[in-house]
């Protein structure tokens, strides 16, 4: 799974695959490929639900920097 894909894209892609499979629009040739991709997407999404990547310290640091700049602006 590439890092670039975001949750929404992954979820939408998954929904699409499910829909295709549900409607029987998939041929035997692509079925295993699609199922594999769906499994990847599900793993990614499930993982997303239970983990976060945000770093509090990073945000606080950003805020600090902003605040300093603000103060300089005020002066």
């Amino acid at each position: 799974m590439t890092q670039k894909i975001n949750y929404e894209e992954a979820f939408n892609e998954l929904q699409q695959i499910v829909e295709e499979i549900e409607n029987g629009e998939i041929s035997v040739d692509t079925l295993s490929q699609k199922v594999k991709r769906a499994a990847e997407l599900i793993r990614f999404c499930k993982n997303k639900l239970v983990t976060t990547e945000e770093d509090v310290n990073k945000i606080l640091k950003e805020l600090e920097n902003e605040t300093i700049t603000d103060n300089t602006d005020d002066k």
Partner: protein, 471 residues
């Protein structure tokens, strides 16, 4: 008492004050209902007394200003009624309708002593302010702005504006953190005052901070709870409402109170009645994703298996069908071959027999015909022979007769015989003379007679009157 000095009546300051006080108390005997804006409450915690600063404005300018006093007991009574009715304490910047005595104090001067304040008037005024905020936001097309934002389908990162020690914040964090499904949320607290006049500025300041790191968040939650239902009119403030409406992230509120919905709550992306409910809303968002995920797993597994089964079935059916069709085809071909063979045998026999029969018939016919023919030929040749003989005899007779006639004719024609009968033959120049034109005068003619020759000379020639050249 005033003194007389250099013909001047001189009053002491207290005497003037006493006089004014007397005049005023005589003149303003009753209690008056007055409306004014309470610019400052000036509550002194130590004494419990208030010294409200009252003003009246016209077109933004102060046209009247009074000091006033609100004694501790009156203040407490009035404040309690305000809290009950308005859910707001007495505070700076509200319009009040109050009853007061006009007093004058020698030390503190002219003042209004507030006895009572009518909460209904202030309530009406606050409600008016709220309605004005709504109207203005609507006219500026801001009322639905935050609602129309698109929230991330997985709102996982939440900037929380709250008070760390408040029950509302604790509830919110607790529900998010201890959810049974293991959903993980990321949240940072941006501490702020959440009620009272100062909350407006404080919340706006935190929103401004969040705006700077907005990329790290999916939503903002304003959480309050456990602080009672007072001091919430700040959420009707135009400034705060506008900031919320224009915020780049969805702002969700869980302010937790039993009073009417405030403007900030109305314009928020989503308003939950309590912080717990707001946390549940976020969890529901996760469910909305998680359930389709579980469904997806089920659907994919079921459908894929079904699909493969169906394909197998189809394949089996097809191979069965194919084999049965093939076998049938072979059998039917075999049968038809056999039949053909039989037919060929049969027909060959029949045809051969027929041919044999025909041949025999032909042979018989031929035989017969040949015999007949031979007989006919024989007969015919006999007949022809007979006829030939007959014809021959006949012919001979005719010929004989003819010969006889010819003999006779020939005999008749023999010049000797003719000559014998008196005819003669004349030659001229050794040529038989037939026409008189063939001789000229003096030609010598030689005439043969039966018994001799006469030679003569031509005297003349002339043509017969009648043509008798035949003789």
């Amino acid at each position: 008492m005033p003194e007389n000095s250099d013909n001047k009546l001189v009053f002491s300051l207290s005497e003037v004050a006493q006089s004014i006080q007397k005049t005023i108390s005589n003149r303003y005997t009753s209690v008056y209902w007055i409306k004014a804006e309470m610019n400052k409450l000036n509550y002194y915690q130590h004494s419990g007394h208030c010294y409200p600063e009252l003003i009246e404005k016209k077109e933004g300018k102060i046209i009247a200003q009074f000091k006033s006093t609100l004694w501790k007991d009156d203040y407490e009574n009035i404040n309690n009624r305000f809290l009950q009715i308005l859910k707001e304490p007495l505070k700076d910047g509200i319009k009040i309708l109050f009853s007061a005595r006009i007093t004058f104090d020698a030390v503190y001067g002219l003042s209004l002593r507030i006895i009572d304040i009518d909460p209904a008037y202030t309530l009406g005024d606050l409600e008016k302010e709220k309605q004005e905020t709504i109207k203005r936001l609507k006219s500026e097309m801001l009322f639905d702005k935050n609602k129309h934002l698109k929230m991330a389908i997985l709102p996982q990162r939440i900037a929380v504006i709250s008070v760390e020690t408040s029950k509302g914040y604790a509830d919110f964090v607790n529900v998010l953190g201890k959810n049974a499904w293991g959903y993980k949320f990321f949240h940072i607290l941006f501490p702020s005052l959440l009620q009272g006049e100062k909350a407006i500025e404080s919340i706006i300041a935190q929103l401004d901070r969040i705006r700077k790191v907005a990329d790290h968040f999916d939503a903002v939650a304003i959480i309050r709870g456990g602080g009672g239902d007072v001091g919430l009119s700040c959420y009707n403030s135009y400034e705060l409402a506008r900031t919320v409406a224009q915020f780049p992230l969805p702002v969700l509120t869980g302010i937790g109170h039993a009073t009417n919905e405030t403007v900030a709550e109305m314009i928020a992306f989503y308003n939950a009645i309590t912080p717990t409910k707001l946390a549940e809303f976020f969890i529901q968002k996760f469910h909305n994703i998680s359930v389709p995920l579980s469904n997806a797993i089920q659907i994919i597994s079921l459908k894929s298996n079904y699909f493969i089964r169906e394909q197998k079935k189809t394949y089996l059916n097809m191979s069965k069908y194919f084999s049965s069709v093939a076998v049938n085809l072979i059998i039917s071909n075999k049968t038809s071959l056999k039949q053909n063979l039989k037919s060929i045998n049969q027909f060959t026999g029949i045809i051969l027999k027929q041919q044999q029969k025909n041949l025999m018939q032909y042979a018989f016919k031929m035989n017969l015909a040949t015999k007949n023919n031979l007989i006919t030929q024989k007969n015919l040749s006999g007949f022809i022979l007979k006829r030939l003989f007959k014809a021959e005899a006949y012919n001979r007779q005719i010929h004989l007769a003819k010969l006889l006639s010819i003999e006779k004719q020939v005999a008749a024609l023999n010049p000797v015989n003719v000559i014998r009968r008196g005819y003669s033959i004349t030659y001229v120049n050794n040529k038989l003379l037939k026409k008189h034109t063939s001789v000229n005068k003096d030609d010598i003619l030689k005439t043969i007679l039966f018994d001799g020759v006469v030679t003569s000379k031509v005297l003349s020639t002339h043509k017969n009157k009648q043509d008798d050249t035949k003789n």
